[in-house]
């Protein structure tokens, strides 16, 4: 690079440094500073206002002894696992179907992707309406003659997560499909030719050759989808408000409720620190895989 050729790099190109100031400020004050601040204050007994009355790990002990938090974590694990498997599985299958040189590809893609343009609030409200037991799916199937048909996920604590899942899949699978399709199209044509020459069946080529080659796409998708799942908030607020009972609580709701509603900031900070930790568990191995081996890759 131009700057590297000459010494005294600190004073050169002041314009470039000035241009980078917003990024530096955002990183220092919000992303790094804000995160550290929250983690530090999670060791205090702050109530409505942040205070530095240190209480050690009390907030964490209480957090992990609270039934609602445990339910939220369990929900996150169940919902997260199912959601990952289904979004990535369905997304990939749809991408494979779309890759079969079909007619109306653009139309199909437009249809599958439009929910992704809509907000979670909109998604939650629509599915709340479709799953409404009095008017929605249950009512219609019963009208068709199957009188005992029962499908009321939003009011049944045992299956409420599936109600959320249906909505989340509707919103997100089209997006994953697009990522996967881009990945499929990025596979070298020669691979296909070689596989065809060798007489390998198509499904085998996909499963044993293409999928391993698409590993980076899968990993990126996994990270994006997973970090989205940890954040899950709007959808639950709009669709179930965490109910019935505590059956569809998620960590993000716990954080918000305890920070602002219960006026217990310390507890909210402890919970959000745990959310951060769960993201790091996903993120660090990925970052290691992605960036670990390739230092200084400046140009794409």
């Amino acid at each position: 690079m131009a700057a590297a050729r000459r010494p005294n790099a600190l004073l050169r190109n002041p314009a470039a440094k000035i241009a980078a100031i917003p990024m530096i400020l955002a990183v220092l004050f919000v992303f790094v500073g804000g995160t550290i601040w929250t983690v530090v204050y999670s060791f205090t007994g702050s109530r409505l206002l942040p205070r530095t009355n240190w209480v050690g790990l009390d907030q964490y002990e209480r957090l992990w002894g609270t039934s609602r938090w445990l339910v939220a974590i369990e929900n996150l694990l169940i919902f997260g696992t199912l959601s990952l498997i289904f979004t990535i599985g369905i997304g990939f299958l749809l991408a494979v179907l779309m890759d079969q040189k079909i007619r109306f590809e653009d139309t199909f893609r437009t249809i599958m992707l439009y929910p992704f343009a809509l907000s979670f609030v909109v998604t939650g409200l629509v599915w709340q309406w479709i799953l409404n037991p009095q008017f929605g799916v249950q009512h219609i199937v019963r009208d068709l003659g199957w009188e005992t048909f029962t499908f009321d996920p939003l009011n049944d604590p045992d299956i409420v997560l599936y109600g959320l899942l249906i909505a989340a899949l509707w919103q997100g699978t089209g997006f994953v499909m697009c990522l996967m399709l881009a990945g499929l199209r990025g596979i070298d044509d020669e691979i296909w030719k070689a596989a065809r020459v060798d007489g390998i069946p198509k499904w085998k080529t996909y499963l044993f050759i293409v999928v391993p080659m698409m590993r980076p796409v899968f990993i990126t998708t996994l990270v994006i989808v997973a970090s989205g799942i940890v954040r899950l908030y709007d959808l639950v607020v709009a669709q179930t408000s965490g109910g019935p009972g505590n059956a569809s609580q998620v960590p993000a709701m716990y954080v918000y409720d305890y920070m602002f509603q219960a006026q217990n900031l310390g507890q909210g900070f402890a919970a959000s620190t745990m959310m951060l930790l769960s993201v790091l568990i996903v993120l660090i191995p990925w970052a290691y895989l992605e960036f670990g081996g390739k230092k200084g890759r400046g140009r794409g």
Binding site: R68, G243, P244, G245, Y256, D257, Q261, A262, Q263
Partner: protein
Amino acid sequence: MKLTACLMGASALALATAAHATELEVTHWWTSGGEAAAVAELAKAFNASGDTWVDGAIAGGGSTARPIMISRITGGDPMGATQFNHGQQALELVEAGLMLDLTDVAEAEGWREKVFPPSLLDACTVDGRIYCAPVNIHSPEWLWLSNKAFEEAGVPVPTNWNEFVAAAPALEAAGKIPLALGNQAWQSNLAFGAITVAVAGLDVWKSVNVDKNMDVAAGPEMAAVFEAAANARLLAAKSNVQDWNQATNLVITGQAGGQIMGDWAQGEFQVAEMVAGEDYTCLPGLGLNTYLSTGGDAFYFPKNDDPEIEAAQKRLAALLVSPEVQVAFNLKKGSLPIRGDVDLAAANDCMKKGLEILAGGNLVPSGDMVWSPDVQNQAQDLLVEFMKSDMAPADAHAAWVEILSSGI
């Protein structure tokens, strides 16, 4: 914030000739039909006095609205006035010196003598200074019954909770939901509180919630309350609505036998043009113990640098407690006034029942007044889980005692 204050100051200056016209933004969570009509009365009175009411309604109930209000006050963008349930919700804001001291207004207006029951003003008092203006009383311990549902089930309309439980099998046989209960957490909490007052009685309620006697909280009386609540959740098992007024609607249409809900449910029956005693029955204290816990709404006034705004805040505070506004507001709202010296002749039967209990002094303070929001929230989380799952009563009881103990 400084800028806003400056601008407001400037605009106040510009309008100084037109008496003392100051804009005050007032935030609250009164968004249902009846509530909005009641707020309109407050706005009308305030505007008539020369100032301007800027409405800042936040929908979704107090649990949605309070976080927004608090973060605005702590975020340095205070509104002119804001609703809270009186009690401990704003305690820390007061202690942090973020709320305006209204003691001089209260003394000038004689609140100490006029506000009834006095506990309402006590809930506004921190270290002997008064920080809020109470506007109404809410009592949550009511059982609302659909006469039609019981008629169709072929059983007489119950006169108390025990009869209601006994009649439940007949309701179920007639294809009805015995008890309507919305999914939102606060509704389970409310039902549990009502059952506590009704089943365990006043003394137990007071020793647990006021004296904070944890031996009583862990004792057999409360165990019986948990059993009764476990029974109630069976009766509510088929209730599958979210909002409280949807649950009320089940009662109105006769699909459900009854609902435990606060006096504000009254408004829904009125909108549906139903007559108390004929179409529906209301049982305060669930018909067992005619005691009501009196929580309610109050307005707090965040501190402001601008003397013009402070003066307007004090004018609004005085206005809210004045007899005329109390009558106009509470008639629309269906709630009870906070002073005993006003005439509510226009009140309907259920409201009158409430007034009688109020006059008789059969009152207990509400949970908002005696427990911190943190404890309240934890208890609510526990109770909604209990009411909406098959958690064993003994387990819930033990967890509940632990939560209360942590709040002493």
